[in-house]
């Protein structure tokens, strides 16, 4: 089973109403019952009611996996980055510190890094993930790209992010205004300077079921 290729995850923080339905639903997952893999915070409550949910963006070449000294973090062939493998994880926190989006969290009680696996048990059988199922404002949405482009004519999905010299492509899309340019022009963007590439794919791909 794999996540159907036509179904994608779309994240639009501008729609977030801070209700925490995503977070509460996340704790209903059988694989990490009672624990949410989603962070949801006010940006600055003194000034605004704006909140933003953080789910794993599922990088094509996940920094968390790249920095893992125990090779405990695996990405499925259909592109879902998983919680650390329990037998391998040494709870060193490298992934927690390295993720540019701040996603992995250390469960100190279990000595295990835990993170969003896009509800692989649901999505790999064609169901929506918990959070995108329930989200009342559909800040978190799961469906086809065609449907999303039709429903949100003012937005466009973006899945490439630049952090310093590192360019990261993700499985999850973040909605940006449709007519805006990709990047803010700055000095470094106009310079010749090769970014850090990811031409080496390591051995982080596994088939689910190959390994416990």
């Amino acid at each position: 089973m794999a996540v159907p290729a036509q179904l994608e995850f779309f994240l639009d923080p501008s729609r977030c109403i801070g209700c925490q339905a995503c977070l509460q639903a996340c704790t209903e997952c059988d694989t990490h019952k009672g624990q949410s893999m989603i962070q949801l915070d006010y940006l600055d409550r003194a000034y605004s009611t704006q909140t933003a949910p953080v789910v794993c963006l599922h990088c094509e070449t996940p920094t968390c996996a790249e920095v893992c000294p125990a090779d405990a973090i695996k990405r499925t062939e259909d592109g879902v980055v998983q919680t650390a493998r329990k037998p391998r994880c040494i709870a060193c926190n490298n992934c927690v510190l390295a993720c540019p989006f701040g996603v992995p969290k250390m469960n100190t009680r279990m000595n295990l890094m835990m993170k969003c696996d896009m509800c692989y048990d649901r999505t790999s059988s064609g169901l929506k993930p918990w959070c995108a199922s329930v989200c009342p404002s559909q800040a978190l949405a799961f469906g086809t790209r065609e449907e999303m482009m039709r429903l949100r004519p003012n937005a466009r999905p973006v899945n490439a992010f630049q952090f310093g010299l590192q360019i990261i492509r993700t499985k999850v899309n973040v909605m940006a205004p449709r007519d805006w340019p990709d990047e803010v022009v700055d000095v470094t963007a106009a310079m010749y300077e090769p970014t850090i590439g990811h031409d080496m794919l390591d051995d982080i791909f596994v088939n689910i079921g190959d390994e416990v």
């Binding site: 801070g18 925490q20 509460q24």
Partner: protein
């Protein structure tokens, strides 16, 4: 100013022992015996708000262990708010009442167990005694709109036929009645005019006094989807709620000035001829007089009274005025006022003047609060009402219902008084006994110091509840009732759509279905005739007959039809006269369609008056009952947070929801905070003429600087309703929760409760 409240202000006791015994305690997860697999999934609906999202309950070993989205239910398509996701934790909760209790001063917590049958017998004996000694009306009934329609019907029948008391009313009195009265005066019918699908495609959406994202979260997606498709969203609210954060125009109305705003908008519509004169001519009455009355509401005066910038008032009027399609939504922010009905009618006036109603994408609705806020106000538990939306004072209506019930119409009581007036009658000694179900007035009614004092005067007080609510602590007898997931039935949700509530599990212990308890009481009184139903469906079948021919006509509705069509919209008569357009399987989905037939107009027009015309109503502006002054210079407004529901009797026992927003905070603007020397997180004392309350401050720029906000879900010393005023609308009798005058200051020390109570207690 001294730190202590005015000497005359009473304060609630902390009731530590009772809380220790009965909670609210929090539960974070349902322990399952290693296996979280479900025996069955039950397709039903959320137990909380009027959106009534479809959801599947996971059941294992007669316990609700979780939920699963129900993607096919069209209203919410799997979406849920946090309350709906965690509601399952209430079912096998350690605070559940598993048997009957009676007041017992010999125990530290004040109660001792009593066999159910003894408790029912004692209640029946007290009803009999009080009514014999003081007359039928000396025993009152308080009911609620979170009950299924079957139960609300039975409560009305129980009061009017079995007890023959005038004094029954319900907690929708704090919720839906201003909208109901305004709708009846303007349209002749009290129901959302349009299904929610009409929001999509509207050009302008005006949201007035509705914290949509927190109180009706699923509606957020409808509004934002409409915005994606080009709609302009206008939000009227003293606070920048999450739905207001991304709106196109924000009108920060000063609490209590809504009528002035809508009068001002209508003034500009008339001045600029942004009117549908054809519609006004053909389908309405009363426009000329109204037009004359709003002449004085110039933009300048409107701005001055409402506290909204004049250019924003003009912008709102223009967008609303020139739109080709629109949807106006309002909720308690518009309705919880001593002028609530007028506020509602003033909003309806701009809808009717635009002619944009009764068509696709042209709509109007109030956003229902409680689960069955709609169905619960239709079938006879309101003080002046009989089933089908009929009037208790109308001889024909009395005759119809008395015939269905098999009784003499002359034996039906006359109309009684509203819920708050019932409390006042208790205080005055006119009502000596009370039965309350699905109502927590000690938390939810305004000026609740008065409410508590009144309840203490009762000679006998009985409560049916599944938890020991703060109100139940005042009872002589508490009977263990059922949760929504423990019974069958129907409710009518925000759109006027009748939907099925399914039984997922049996009630635990000695707890049982509320309708059985009511029938047991009737039997114990020796007045069992008419109270021998064997199922909710058999109650519904009688309700169909009782509602037949009324405005809220359910006669064509069956459980099967409801289940086959994801709900049926009333009115849905079983017979349509020849020549009238036939109803589809979903009933009357959209009201007021051109050429539609209804039992009042009988083809004369689309509205529910004999001439088929809608009514413009005069809405002269009158300010709030208690305005600010030198002594109490700040406006207090109250409302909700997304993680709690109403008086919190259920949600304050659900750990993950308590964690989200553990305790009430007082929201105030930094401009006000600075002036008073209050910093974010400071303990702050708020005082009104009725009580005082010390809470932590939340200093935010998302509220008007002349207004402070406190959510009302908490009890005792944390209750916002210690402060609120019991002023009521003269027509709807809704209390004025949204405006009263207070003063505040930084507290010298933390309140006593801070160390003694958990956040939810």
């Amino acid at each position: 100013m001294k730190n202590s409240p005015p000497a005359s202000t009473p304060t609630p006791a902390l009731e530590l022992e009772t809380i220790r015994r009965f909670g609210p305690h929090v539960v974070h997860e349902r322990e399952s015996a290693g296996d979280s697999g479900a025996d069955k999934l039950v397709k039903t609906h959320c137990c909380f708000c009027g959106q009534q999202c479809g959801v599947q309950l996971k059941v294992r070993h007669n316990t609700v262990i979780g939920i699963e989205p129900w993607y096919e239910f069209p209203f919410n398509r799997g979406m849920l708010c946090p309350k709906g996701i965690k509601r399952y934790l209430q079912q096998a909760h350690p605070d559940r009442l598993l048997h009957a209790w009676q007041k017992d001063s010999a125990t530290p917590d004040g109660f001792s167990a009593v066999p159910y049958e003894d408790a029912v017998r004692r209640l029946a004996g007290e009803i009999e005694r009080i009514q014999r000694e003081h007359g039928h009306d000396a025993f009152g009934v308080l009911s609620g709109a979170s009950l299924t329609t079957e139960k609300t019907y039975l409560m009305g029948k129980f009061a009017h036929m079995c007890l023959r008391t005038s004094n029954i009313d319900y907690n929708g009195r704090l919720c839906m009645v201003s909208a109901a009265a305004g709708n009846k005066k303007a349209f002749g019918i009290d129901r959302a005019a349009n299904p929610w699908e009409d929001i999509l495609g509207a050009e302008v959406i005006l949201v007035s006094g509705a914290n949509v994202a927190e109180c009706a979260p699923i509606t957020t997606n409808y509004i934002w989807q409409a915005r994606e498709q080009g709609a302009k969203v206008i939000v009227v609210d003293p606070r920048i709620t999450p739905i207001a954060r991304t709106c196109d125009l924000f009108l920060p109305v000063k609490p209590g000035r809504d009528t002035a705003l809508f009068n001002g908008i209508l003034h500009l519509m008339i001045e600029n001829d942004w009117l549908d004169r054809g519609f006004i001519q053909a389908h309405t009455a009363g426009f000329e007089a109204l037009a004359e009355s709003v002449r004085e509401w110039t933009p300048g005066r409107t701005a001055e009274v409402t506290g909204i910038a004049e250019k924003s008032v003009r912008q709102a009027a223009e967008w609303w005025g020139v739109a080709k399609s629109s949807f106006l939504l309002h909720a308690r922010g518009l309705e919880h006022h001593s002028n609530g009905v007028k506020n509602v009618m003033s909003a309806i006036n701009i809808v009717l003047a635009s002619g944009r109603i009764g068509r696709p994408n042209c709509g109007y609705a109030t956003i229902t609060g409680q689960a069955n806020g709609q169905g619960g106000r239709e079938h006879g538990q309101k003080c002046d009402q009989l089933p089908g939306g009929r009037d208790l004072s109308n001889p024909e209506h009395r005759a119809h219902v008395a015939a269905v019930w098999g009784m003499n119409a002359a034996d039906l009581p006359s109309p009684g008084v509203d819920a708050y007036e019932i409390i006042r009658k208790i205080d005055k000694g006119e009502i000596k006994g009370l039965l309350s179900i699905c109502f927590n007035p000690v938390v939810s009614l305004p000026d609740n110091n008065f409410v508590r004092q009144a309840l203490e005067k009762l000679e006998f007080f009985a409560v049916i509840d599944f938890f020991m609510s703060e109100t139940a602590r005042y009872a002589d007898v508490v009977l263990p009732g059922s949760l929504q997931e423990e019974d069958e039935g129907t409710v009518t949700q925000v759109e006027g759509r009748i939907i099925r509530i399914k039984k997922a599990v049996e009630s635990p212990g000695d707890a049982r279905s509320d309708w059985k308890i009511i029938q047991d009481i009737a039997q114990a009184l020796g007045r069992g005739q008419g109270f021998t139903f064997d199922s909710p469906q058999s109650i519904f079948e009688e309700l169909r007959a009782a509602s037949k021919g009324g405005v809220a006509d359910y006669s064509g509705v069956t459980y099967e039809r409801v289940e086959d069509n994801f709900g049926v919209f009333w009115p849905c008569p079983d017979e349509i006269p020849e020549g009238a357009p036939a109803l589809g399987p979903r009933g009357t989905v959209r009201l007021f369609e051109p050429g539609s037939w209804n039992p009042v107009a009988k083809g004369a027009g689309p509205f529910y008056f004999p001439d088929g015309k809608a009514r413009f109503n005069l809405t002269p502006y009158v300010g709030p009952a208690e305005d600010v002054d030198a002594e109490y210079p700040i406006i207090l407004t109250t409302g909700r947070v997304v993680s709690q529901f109403l008086s919190g009797n259920q949600t304050r026992r659900i750990g993950p929801l308590v964690d989200h927003y553990p305790e009430p905070r007082i929201e105030l603007h930094p401009r006000l905070a600075e002036r008073l020397g209050i910093a974010d997180g400071d303990w702050t004392t708020v005082e009104s003429r009725r009580g005082n309350c010390t809470l932590r401050a939340s200093v935010v720029r998302t509220i008007r600087p002349d207004t402070v906000f406190i959510p009302y879900h908490w009890a005792g010393r944390k209750s916002a309703n210690q402060l609120t005023i019991s002023a009521q609308d003269p027509i709807s009798k809704i209390p004025e929760y949204k405006v009263c005058a207070v003063r505040l200051r930084r507290a010298d020390s933390p309140p006593e409760y801070a160390e003694l109570l958990q956040p939810q207690q």
